[in-house]
């Protein structure tokens, strides 16, 4: 057994009697959980379950300790200099909304926020919420090969740009963005630099100090951890100067009827009972990933995407198109593709003329469903990136995305099936 086949054995779902022979190619949506993570959650429930922070009895002190050690562990995993820069939240989405609500308080009409057209909805909609205050959201375009258009970026980075928020890795194209260079430009422009790390943290070594970003957001469920737990990293002085987001228990120092004062960071941003077992499970996931080594994870996925592009050429399925950079040095393990044209809704002239515009295309929905019949799980749809789909001239794509439990055989299986599906659906019109 190869190393990666052995790793796959650590994931109970692949031995589940409920799913015979699952080929899971949807890790960009959410990852599977290794046994050590599942056990960490169970062991907490069975031995130490109690609320954190306020208890003065044994198990509650142990629970608090486990929760705070998890924070330290995750903090060092992303290269943060101190654990109090790490806020536990539900997910990337909540982290970016926290920023939009709190930083948004300081923005005024005419201020600008610069994002990109390849962002996930989580890094678009929260900023659009601020438009009603007269704040403008600008979108950096992409190049033909799926990279950030740096010229366009420079053009759009203006003196009014107060915030730049970019994804580290695109969840549709797989593009790894050159954030170290970008960060320098952003700070030279005196703008705040926010990174959506949802697709990088699980798949490569991340160091927030090297990135020199002000904020960095990611989700536990995409990196072998539980769902319901996510992280916002923020530079300490930033977090300290910000208004709190949610009010309630634990985030306060004092509450009186004439006003309240706030706890120290990061607790200031953790109102109410947190997802305790979520944090503990995420910490177990981080230990597991560290055991493999993030460089190895990255190299493995790079191998898989290289192999994918090679298979694409070899199979040469008619009308098959794929998206994202071909240079695998800047490409994560994400493979989005279509068979034939899947135009967006407003390109409907042809539809009006002569009816069914399916030609030789296979709708992504049909691809997913047909692959599922062969136990291959890929995602089809807009992948929460409608503006990017629109930019690519499609309404949807199918996407295979990889992680530590995937192997080259999975990719062969994918292309074998796609070839068959193409034949079944070929309408020859």
């Amino acid at each position: 057994m190869s190393r990666w086949e052995q790793i796959k054995q650590d994931f109970p779902i692949f031995n589940s009697s409920k799913n015979s022979d699952l080929t899971y190619l949807d890790s960009a949506a959410t990852s599977q959980k290794p046994k050590c993570v599942i056990d960490a959650v169970r062991e907490f429930y069975e031995n130490y379950n109690s609320n954190v922070h306020r208890g003065i009895y044994g198990i509650s002190e142990t629970a608090t300790d486990m929760y705070e050690k998890s924070r330290e562990n995750v903090s060092s995993f992303i290269g943060s200099s101190h654990a109090n820069q790490l806020v536990f939240l539900r997910n990337t989405t909540e982290a970016l909304n926290l920023l939009s609500y709190t930083m948004g308080r300081n923005l005024v009409s005419g201020d600008e926020i610069l994002i990109s057209i390849m962002e996930h909805h989580s890094n678009i909609v929260p900023w659009q919420f601020l438009e009603e205050k007269g704040i403008k959201v600008n979108y950096t375009d992409i190049t033909a090969d799926g990279k950030l258009d740096m010229e366009d970026f420079r053009r759009k980075l203006s003196p009014r740009t107060r915030i730049v928020s970019l994804t580290h890795v695109s969840n549709l194209l797989g593009t790894i963005n050159p954030l170290v260079d970008i960060g320098r430009m952003v700070h030279d422009n005196d703008s705040i630099f926010i990174v959506d790390g949802a697709q990088s943290t699980p798949h490569m070594k991340v160091n927030v100090q090297d990135l020199d970003c002000d904020f960095f957001a990611f989700s536990g469920h995409k990196m072998l951890g539980p769902s319901g737990i996510g992280v916002l990293y923020g530079k300490e002085d930033m977090l300290e100067s910000m208004h709190p987001f949610l009010g309630g228990g634990e985030m306060i120092r004092t509450v009186t009827t004439s006003g309240s004062t706030w706890n120290d960071v990061p607790l200031k941003f953790e109102a109410g009972t947190p997802n305790i077992e979520g944090a503990i499970g995420l910490s177990a996931a981080v230990d597991y990933l560290r055991g493999i080594g993030m460089e190895n994870v990255r190299n493995h996925e790079k191998d898989l995407i290289e192999y994918t592009l090679k298979m694409e050429e070899e199979y040469a399925i008619p009308d098959m198109v794929s998206y994202g950079p071909k240079n695998t040095d800047i490409r994560g393990g994400v493979y989005s593709f279509n068979i034939g044209e899947i135009p967006p809704m407003d390109m409907d002239e042809k539809f009006r003329e002569n009816g069914v515009m399916i030609g030789s295309s296979v709708h992504p929905h049909d691809i997913s469903t047909s692959l599922d019949a062969g136990n291959v799980a890929v995602r089809s749809g807009h992948h929460c990136a409608m503006p990017l789909n629109h930019r690519l001239g499609v309404v949807a794509t199918s996407r295979a995305s990889y992680y530590v439990y995937n192997t080259r055989e999975d990719i062969e299986k994918l292309f074998d099936q796609l070839e068959k599906i193409r034949k079944v659906y070929d309408l020859g019109r």
């Binding site: 809704m345 009816g355 069914v356 709708h363 929905h365 049909d366």
Partner: protein, 127 residues
């Protein structure tokens, strides 16, 4: 969606490849375009009603096999029916007519044409 039923799947693919009642109409009583911007599925349905009966029904569309086959199957079913019969048709009956087990996501594809029909009936005040 479960594809274990190959025969039924062949029936769907047949409707998809060779849709019935496909096309547009000159002077329809009602006409409506239903679409799902999320996946791009779309159907335009035109209906001709006379004497409280569906004289003719046609559709054009684009999208996945389920959305298009469902429209084809539905228009077959509807033709010649009375307004009352149409009003009594349920979503469940429509899904049963398609006859394969659809997951929640694909059900949305299947009911697109049914929703179009429903809306046309709502718009149609009678003669």
């Amino acid at each position: 969606m479960i594809l274990e039923d190959e025969e039924r799947m062949e029936f769907i693919m047949d409707h998809y490849r060779h849709p019935h009642n496909f096309g547009t109409m000159e002077n329809p009583t009602e006409e409506i375009t239903e679409y799902n911007p999320v996946c791009g599925d779309a159907v335009k349905v035109s209906i001709l009603i006379k004497d409280n009966m569906v004289q003719d029904i046609r559709f054009v569309g684009r999208g996945c096999s389920i959305s298009q086959a469902a429209a084809s199957i539905l228009t077959d079913e509807v033709k010649g029916k009375s307004m009352e019969e149409l009003r009594n048709m349920t979503e469940k009956e429509h899904l049963d007519r398609i006859g394969i087990r659809l997951g929640p996501s694909r059900e949305k594809c299947a009911i697109l044409s049914f929703n179009a029909l429903r809306k046309m009936l709502d718009n149609y005040g009678g003669e």
